[in-house]
Amino acid sequence: MSNIIPLDLWGGNLSFNIDKSTFILNRQYGLFSNITVGIFGVCKIKSLGYNVQNIDFYLAEYDNNYNFYDDLFIKKDISSYSNELLTVSEAESFMNTIHPTSHGLSRGWNTFHKEDLEKVMPILQKLYYHYFENNNSIIGIKDFIKNVNHMQSNNTAFIWARKTDKFNETQLPSADTYLSEINNYSNIQHIYLQTDDPTVVSDFQQINDNRIKYLNTIPMSSNSSGFHERLYTISNEEFINKYQMSKSQYLQQILAMVSLAAESEYFVGYPGNLTTIIPMIKGSFNNCLLFKDDRNLID
């Protein structure tokens, strides 16, 4: 019997090395797509009777042959508590309830039921914080961005907005729509804006609301594609020269921003994998607005 089990999970080259207890995750798409597929894959491997000790996290969209895991996450030993982390029945329950979609872990490609995610939330959180907990570099970056921008948690809203490639997937909210939703909450004093889309910045600037602070933390897309798309076509050296940060540092900045988004009292986001990640980190769907086709998915 081969010691490598191939896994067919939403594209790419995925497999499990039984001898090394290593899940090799090598596929394209964005960082959070790979995290959600990674969590699903851990469940799949458990259902086959194996525990995942290590994840080799190749992000083919960003680089052709580099394991980003150690640059982003804390590696934890599973050997002493594998059953506490995940039982076979939990893994099967998870897979029977939700799966990766274009708007995060959900039941169907065009449907979203928050009760599905709430049902598996304890499993999701356990696996996320075991396999994908931010390392100290990201915690430091998060603290830095928070301090240098004097960011607060109470009475704040965090908007994570994109257009670019998301136009192909769904109708996207306008800046006015984002703000009208936020204005339903009278206590919002600060609104933080995160985007990789320069048209989003200009849309919000035209509104001229002095509560809005654009957080200039990651490079902008220069066309209608998501910034991260096809980054494998440029070397890390070219990336550093162009953006004064490495590809790993870029991903660290993104993860730091996700932590900050989850710390804000209200989160307003576009439909994507953050639809799963942000409420999971917040521990609740309360005060999360997740738009799809101009309606809040959470309702």
Partner: protein, 274 residues
């Protein structure tokens, strides 16, 4: 057992100080585990000037732990009989940035990589604190600065960002009201000019700063090696001035950690975000 550290001096002076601190720290760990450590200083992509004397910048005493030190002008990507233990800056080949570690005996030895945590660097238990050269210290003594605070304003690379000044004007006025002397440091010449005429202002004039900036890609804009060296020495002097302040007040429009402040943090200078 043998170890080779390659220091690739290819970005800013702050980055260089962090990289040196990190590999000095790890060299101590390697030596205490029985390794003989050689240092290769790769100046291929150095943006200051070529053929410089490294020890005009940094205190030579820090580097006496190494079995040998060699300056090279071509990056090392592999060494016969050695394996790569560490490459700085993620998905890169050796010799691009910061430092790399080659070992002839890869084992479970854990090297310690500093988190990219910017201003929390001061909490790191460094085994070997980098010191700037005696020349830089002499330059500082000759300034005769005392009892001052510093404002460090860091716009984007190559960005003379006046908005950063406008956005922080109230905080800057407050700092001037509460300090007898204020050292102004910025990679934006325009920002410095806004404060240069205030009688409380202390500042360093860096040659050609008005036309060529003072941060990166010096050697692409200035060909005079003497001026390039003077600019690098004065930038290091600025690092030392910041690191002797009562306090550094820091603002950036870039949301990126500035390693220019690393020397201040390892010298336990309090830093306030304005």
């Amino acid at each position: 057992m043998n170890a080779i550290i390659q220091h690739s001096f290819s970005s800013g002076l702050g980055d260089a100080i962090v990289a040196i601190s990190e590999y000095l720290h790890n060299a101590e760990i390697l030596i205490s585990n029985g390794y003989k450590v050689d240092l290769k200083i790769n100046t291929t992509n150095n943006m200051y000037y070529k053929n410089f004397d490294f020890f005009d910048f940094f205190d030579e005493d820090n580097f006496k732990i190494f079995n040998s030190i060699e300056f090279i002008n071509k990056p090392i990507e592999n060494i016969n009989g050695f394996e790569i233990k560490h490459i700085s800056y993620g998905a890169s080949k050796p010799g691009l940035h910061w430092w790399d570690l080659f070992l002839d005996n890869i084992n479970n030895l854990q090297i310690e990589i500093f988190p990219q945590s910017g201003l929390t660097y001061g909490n790191l238990p460094l085994k070997n604190n980098i010191k700037l050269s005696k020349q830089i210290h002499n330059m500082y003594q000759n300034l005769n600065y005392s009892n001052y605070s510093s404002i460090y304003l860091r716009p984007n690379d190559c960005d003379d960002n006046i908005d950063l000044y406008e956005n922080k004007i109230n905080e800057i006025i407050n700092i001037y009201n509460n300090n007898n002397n204020v050292f102004i440091c910025s990679n934006s010449y325009t920002l410095k000019q806004k404060l240069i005429n205030n009688p409380k202002t202390l500042s360093i004039n860096i040659p050609m700063e008005d036309t060529q900036g003072n941060h990166i890609y010096h050697n692409q804009r200035i060909s005079d090696q003497k001026i390039l060296k003077e600019r690098a020495m004065l930038s290091l002097l600025e690092i030392l001035i910041l690191a002797n302040s009562n306090r550094v007040y820091f603002a950036t429009s870039w949301n990126r950690i500035s390693n220019f402040l690393f020397y201040s943090t390892i010298n336990n200078i309090p830093i306030s975000y304005i």
